[in-house]
């Protein structure tokens, strides 16, 4: 990067079925919090990038109404989208605007109102998250089906079990119970997961992240602005990795990990000049329980096939070797697509500043990572942060 970039303000709305607000008030919740967190006002913002998938809400062009409601008219010329990695695509765009010198302070707002349509419609939209013409049209794939294809193969090749996958959901709910902004606050057991309704075998209801409404906002600034504003604890962007994969999932040739995530991770580690074992805290894209296991492997925390072991050993718990998703993950914190990637940055910022309350992880080197996947590895963003 030509110029260093830091996170100087973060906000996160309450996630969940938010039928008490429209997308505008929902966005405002995190925008307000991020402005207050950074001690800035709207006039300090040069550009606003809005990330929203929007298809499940009534505002299918949400950027103008959100921008107007949040007092950002004139500052939001772009909306970005990368399916479930939309939030990270907004962060990616914001970071680039600063690194390039085009702007000094950029706000990335991620917001989605996903519960305005019914579940069957939502599944039909998600099922198009690959290749409509060659997949959904003929085979009625749903979004869980795509990840289920990976789960079945992972089970067959490495002996990963449905119980192993259930552990990821149990962990997510345990930590979400401590997060007042989480979609779900209830604890669950392995038995609860195994007994839950089958959606697309081997994926069951409690292996799956919910359909959530929510917003998250991150304010980024250049090094000069960080100094000028005398920011106490800037959180620096040390590495940015991105990649993508085929839309037609069968064409990939192997289905035990996401090549886009591996590629994105390699780029991020290289830029940050660190190795996977330097990461102390990670937010990983656990849209389904198998995705968390594959993420450990794709990020290089363990070799391919050993992800379930790391989970079983409790190494990804608070104060473990690499703590993962201590705010409840997509599974239980919730997964409003546009917000998710920025909510991950909110989370690592809170952790690195040691403002995470009951889920504060103990750091030695203060290095954390976000892993945000769009579609079934159709997009991937891995970002590394330090204090």
């Amino acid at each position: 990067m030509n110029r260093k970039v830091a996170v100087i303000g973060v906000g996160n709305s309450k996630f969940g079925k938010r039928d008490d607000v429209t997308i505008k008030e929902l966005a405002w919740e995190s925008v307000k919090e991020a402005l207050e967190d950074s001690d800035l006002t709207q006039k300090d913002i040069d550009i606003t990038v809005i990330g929203s998938t929007a298809y499940r809400g009534t505002e299918i062009y949400p950027a103008p109404p959100v921008s107007e409601y949040c007092g950002l008219v004139g500052k939001s010329p772009i909306r970005v989208e990368a399916a479930c990695a939309t939030g990270s695509s907004a962060a990616f765009t914001a970071i680039n605007l600063i690194a390039s010198g085009l702007a000094d302070i950029v706000m990335a707002i991620g917001v989605d109102k996903m519960t305005e349509v019914d579940t069957s419609t939502s599944l039909a939209i998600g099922g198009r998250g690959g290749n409509y013409y060659w997949e959904f049209h003929m085979y009625g794939t749903t979004f869980p089906t795509y990840y289920a294809l990976y789960a079945t193969r992972h089970m067959a090749l490495f002996g990963t079990t449905e119980e192993d996958m259930a552990l990821a959901s149990v962990k997510a709910h345990k930590y979400a119970s401590l997060n007042e902004k989480a979609h779900f606050r209830n604890k669950i057991t392995v038995e609860d997961v195994l007994k839950s309704r089958v959606i697309s075998w081997p994926i069951k209801l409690l292996d799956s992240s919910p359909i959530s409404d929510g917003s998250a906002t991150v304010i980024f600034a250049s090094e000069e602005k960080v100094r000028e504003l005398k920011i106490d604890t800037p959180i620096w962007v040390k590495g940015v990795g991105y990649s993508s994969d085929t839309s037609y999932i069968a064409a990939r040739g192997e289905w035990v990990g996401l090549e886009a995530a591996r590629d994105a991770a390699a780029k991020a580690y290289k830029m940050a000049k660190i190795s996977p074992l330097d990461i102390e805290y990670a937010t990983v894209h656990d849209c389904f329980s198998i995705a968390e296991i594959m993420a450990y492997e794709d990020l290089g925390f363990v070799e391919k096939g050993k992800g379930a072991e790391l989970l079983r050993e409790g190494q990804t718990e608070k104060d473990g070797k690499v703590a993962v998703n201590l705010f409840g993950g997509l599974k239980a914190k919730g997964h409003p697509l546009g917000a998710t990637g920025l909510s991950m940055i909110y989370e690592v910022t809170k952790q690195l500043r040691e403002e995470a309350g009951p889920v504060q992880h103990s750091f030695k080197r203060y290095v954390a990572l976000t892993h945000n996947v769009g579609g079934t590895g159709h997009y991937a963003y891995v970002m590394i942060f330090n204090r």
Partner: protein
Amino acid sequence: MDGIPLLFKYTVPDKLYEKFWEGLKKGEIYTTKCKKCGTLYYPPRKDCEKCMSSDMEWVKLSNEGILMTYSIVKQKPQGFENYSDYIVGIARNSDGVNLMCWVKGEAKVGKKVRLTTDGQRVICEVIE
């Protein structure tokens, strides 16, 4: 309160890959191969992204394969509500091509399958 419904009606090109859709009706699976550089594509394509040629020929795919992975769809999306549970799979045929399919029979990773169609999609039948 109810929002105003938005009904999308689509028209999808069918002439472009007519040979594929016709093949499905006869239990055969066709795809395209670049005449210039020999790249075999599946799904079929109009254009070769490797050598930039658009001179493609239709070839018939082998019907012998292996089941690589699968999932049993219980909760169906809009448009498939009236189907009973179906199994979406990925099969690799003896040409080395990976195809999405619906699996008939007892699905298991690594099983031999025979590729056919039900007139509308590729079917892979598990060979006992």
